[in-house]
């Protein structure tokens, strides 16, 4: 009856009280390339996980109609069996196995219960030809570049006879050339009748290849644009992506006055030897005393990497360029040097690398500045208790006592402990990486108020954030990053959601 290969009707999905998807409708016609576009957290990946059976039937509401039949996938294997293949941004290949072993991993070519390796290699060659990858199938995955690995993933998906291919930000880690190849392959697959859903933040790609584009925002379908009607245009997409009402929950600062540059970075690049590419490239930026500088951009745009490269470089990137602190050239060998120079970095992932979850509030608050409560290397515990108590009170940490284990606190309170730990260091420049991610509105407001108070005491702040409202509400100046570069600098007067998103999706 219809020419839709996939219809997702009224899909809603909830995670312990948080609505990730609300009655999403998403229809994909046979043989088209359909893009899913939206900000971080708009629900794109969740929707694809519902489709591929990562979230089994029954954990969401609504129906999935694939090939004209209502599907109830209990596990990923069910969706694969039906003909849906998904390739995640983080490739799921075995680096120490060969190309052919990878292509048929979990789907081995057998004779009885014994693997037929010769047949495997023959079939692998056929698959590689299909995706236009000209490598020896015995090559190990780790010896291939990311672009070619991506193609192996696609070959692996195609070997399962799928008809709908889903790609989650496939070009995020690819260079220009590899991206172009990949997009050409998609057009090629389309001719072979394979339908494709692609998630991407690069609007150039959307405009170049999409037949249709569906825009999600805050877990809802906003609209579906059709290229044949000429609807897929950059300004239209951006307008629909960001059109969120910004509530005014941002406390105002009375008098803004900025001093000299406290930090200046020139031609700053960081090369990640493990990934084999630059994570930060040719960055110029400066921060004045008493200023909140926002760094906007999407996830993976190099913001955290930039912060780490400035904060003593704990990931051992190869650095290039100059960093000036108060006008003096500085280099840090270790995070402790950065801390001693007056920089503090509150991490994005407070559970993973910010806090000591199995320790109490007291030990967490003093962890970065034990010297401040010790003489000759011996800790004065009474003084420590006083310090911890003072920060617990002034930062409104809600916990029965400072002996409470930090792992048992709520996200907002953990964030405040994390903040307290860094304030006790007495920094001049505070780098906040996603300071309010995953915390409730009340705690957010408290953190914003604390930021304003710190500024009034003469501190400077770099705030990295994916939340546009926060960036626009709190910053004095905004840098927008994408692909490791600063794509634009906006004064707060000229900044708005569209402009930021325009730079972020370049």
């Amino acid at each position: 009856m219809s020419n839709y290969i996939l219809e997702m009707n009224n899909i809603s999905k909830e995670f312990t009280g948080v609505k990730a998807l609300t009655e999403v409708n998403f229809k994909v016609a046979k043989g088209e390339i359909h893009f899913l576009v939206g900000e971080n957290g708009a629900g794109k990946s969740t929707l694809m996980k519902v489709l591929s059976g990562v979230y089994p039937h029954g954990t969401y509401s609504g129906d999935i109609v694939f090939d004209g039949k209502v599907q109830k996938f209990d596990k990923i294997a069910d969706s694969v069996h039906a003909g849906i293949g998904i390739i995640y941004q983080e490739l799921a290949l075995f680096p120490d196995l060969s190309v052919y072993e990878n292509i048929f991993a979990g789907n081995e070519v057998r004779r009885g219960s014994i693997i037929d390796w010769n047949q495997t290699i023959v079939q692998a060659k056929g698959m590689l030809a299909k995706v236009g990858l000209n490598v020896n199938p015995e090559t190990l995955i780790k010896d291939l570049g990311v672009g070619k690995q991506q193609l192996v993933e696609i070959a692996k998906a195609l070997s399962k006879n799928i008809r709908l291919l889903i790609l989650d930000e496939p070009t995020a880690a690819l260079n220009e050339n590899d991206s172009e190849n990949l997009l050409n392959l998609l057009r090629e697959l389309k001719k072979q009748g394979i339908t494709c859903i692609m998630i991407s933040h690069k609007l150039k790609e959307v405009i170049a290849v999409a037949d249709k584009a569906t825009i999600l925002r805050d877990g809802r379908t906003i609209c579906t644009l059709d290229a044949s009607k000429g609807e897929i245009k950059e300004n239209v997409i951006i307008k629909n992506m960001v059109g969120r009402e910004i509530e005014d929950i941002y406390p105002k600062r009375a008098n803004k006055s900025f001093g000299d540059n406290i930090l200046e970075v020139k031609n700053w690049s960081a090369f990640d030897t493990q990934l084999g590419r630059h994570v930060v490239k040719d960055v110029h930026l400066h921060v004045k005393k008493g200023e909140i500088v926002g760094i906007a951009g999407l996830m993976g745009s190099g913001r955290t990497e930039l912060a780490l490269s400035l904060f003593g470089n704990p990931k051992a990137y190869k650095l290039q360029g100059d960093m000036l602190l108060n006008g003096m050239p500085s280099t840090f060998k270790h995070t402790s040097d950065a801390i001693n120079a007056g920089i503090a970095y509150v991490t994005e992932d407070r559970k993973g690398n910010g806090l000591f979850l199995i320790q109490d509030i007291r030990s967490n608050i003093t962890a970065a500045n034990l010297r401040g409560i010790a003489s000759k290397g011996v800790i004065n515990e009474n003084e420590e208790v006083q310090v911890a108590q003072a920060y617990k009170d002034s930062l409104y940490v809600k916990a029965p006592s400072i002996e409470q284990l930090v792992g048992n606190l709520s996200g907002g309170n953990q964030q405040k402990v994390s903040l307290g730990k860094w304030l006790f260091v007495g920094p001049k420049l505070l780098i906040l990486d996603e300071p309010t991610r995953g915390i409730d509105v009340g705690a957010k407001f408290e953190i914003y108020s604390i930021m304003n108070k710190l500024i009034s005491e003469g501190m400077s702040i770099i705030m990295i954030s994916s939340e546009l409202g926060e960036v626009l509400g709190m910053s004095d100046r905004v840098y927008v990053m994408a692909e490791g570069r600063i794509k634009g600098e906006l004064s707060i007067e000229e900044a708005d959601q569209e402009k930021i998103m325009q730079y972020a999706t370049q």
Partner: protein, 414 residues
């Protein structure tokens, strides 16, 4: 064993002792404290139960002066290893080489004293420094080269085993003629005189320990009161003082009835005191636990994770050397098999003592209790004539039970 008991249950100074605000009864307060510190108290209760059972089954022979004295002396060389191993496990590593490292360094000590004619008071510092160097080398392999500690220390274990065989190959067992050196493993604090069959100096030492303990507890309490922190009630405080003092007095009394405090016990106590202080009161100690509980966060907090790893492995080497000295002195000789399986005894003691395999959790005092628990089992079962095959199985069961208890209580506390 005054120190062990005295540092045991941490009664937190600023935790509300009872929800019953108006007038908490002593019993209620004790119950709350027990509930909060169940993991630590559990070990002491287990030790107590083991002691009582063996005492009853052996008609009191287990608690005789002679047996307790021997038991503690025989635990010495594993106990110091357990102290070092605690820190190694806390920072999420392991060191399998400590047994044969101890055996090897004990043999070197014997060779230096016999074949090179170096006096014992020069030999001991040389061996301790050698231990630090060996430990640091392990630390470099683990932290800078990036070899998993299990593998690097397994390699080191094989190397030390070979080295021990090499240096003792020609001579076989090397007898140590130095009486001073051998006293470290066999000698006792001089009695001076006997009072009612008890060694006077040991009695005085016990008394001093009790007085010091009471002094520090009082100082701690007044300090906390000065800062207006909450402290346990006066009744509970007195009860704790009396209880711990009584245990110190009892152990002193038992040991004085035989030969008094041995040098081994004094050395182990010294090591425990120093390490307890380092781990609980100093910046270095905090950094070690920070690295153990989240290495990445520790690095981002400005802590030099590599340096901490060197220090912890260096200290492990130092204590391996000390263990080798204690063992050689106890046997009055270095043998070709010295140090066999010491590492596993040390690791077992640490786990029984509540060290977490996930890192970041574990106390030096706990590991000492763990070592005593394991030694008590061996001693008690020997007295009862339990076959060696059953002994291994029972000790294995106790180790498993201790870790299961630990996992369960941890889970309950969330």
């Amino acid at each position: 064993m005054n120190n062990v008991v005295n540092e045991a249950p941490k009664i937190s100074g600023h935790r509300r002792p009872s929800s019953d605000e108006t007038k908490p009864t002593l019993l209620g307060e004790a119950r709350t404290l027990l509930k909060v510190n169940i993991r630590e108290y559990g070990m002491y209760i287990a030790l107590f139960v083991i002691i009582v059972i063996f005492s009853i089954m052996t008609d009191g022979l287990f608690m005789s002066s002679r047996n307790i004295s021997n038991l503690l002396d025989a635990t010495g060389y594993t106990a110091v290893l357990a102290v070092g191993m605690t820190l190694v496990i806390v920072i999420r590593h392991i060191d399998l080489s400590v047994g044969f490292a101890a055996g090897f360094m004990g043999a070197i000590a014997a060779i230096l004293m016999t074949q090179a004619g170096i006096p014992f008071y020069v030999t001991i510092p040389i061996i301790l420094v050698l231990g630090i160097v060996i430990g640091m080398f392990n630390g470099v392999l683990v932290a800078s080269v990036g070899i998993p500690s299990f593998v690097s220390s397994l390699a080191a274990m094989l190397i030390f085993r070979g080295a021990l065989l090499q240096v003792t190959e020609k001579t076989g067992t090397i007898n140590v003629p130095s009486d001073h050196f051998n006293a470290i493993g066999n000698g006792y604090v001089p009695g001076i005189t006997e009072v009612g069959g008890l060694k006077l100096l040991s009695l005085i030492l016990g008394l001093v320990a009790i007085l010091l303990y009471i002094y520090f507890e009082f100082k701690n309490r007044t300090n906390k009161q000065k800062y207006n922190f909450e402290v346990v009630s006066k009744g509970m405080f007195t009860l704790k003082l009396v209880f711990v003092s009584a245990i110190i007095a009892y152990v002193t009394w038992i040991l004085s009835g035989y030969n008094g405090f041995s040098w081994t016990v004094i050395i182990v106590l010294g090591v425990v005191l120093i390490y307890h202080f380092l781990t609980t009161k100093t910046v270095l100690g905090r950094h070690i636990y920070a690295v153990g509980s989240n290495p990445e966060a520790a690095h981002l907090s400005g802590i030099n994770v590599k340096k901490i790893t060197y220090i912890v492995f260096g200290s492990m080497g130092l204590l391996s050397a000390l263990s080798g000295i204690l063992y050689t002195a106890r046997l009055q000789s270095a043998s070709t098999t010295a140090g066999t399986l010491f590492e596993l005894d040390a690791i077992a003691a640490a786990y029984v003592g509540g060290v977490s395999a996930a890192g970041g959790v574990g106390k030096v005092t706990g590991s000492i209790i763990g070592a005593i628990v394991m030694a008590s089992l061996t001693s008690g079962m020997n007295l009862l004539g339990v076959g060696i095959s059953y002994q291994y199985m029972i000790r294995g069961g106790v180790l498993a039970a201790a870790v299961i208890f630990d996992v369960m209580t941890r889970r309950k506390r969330g």
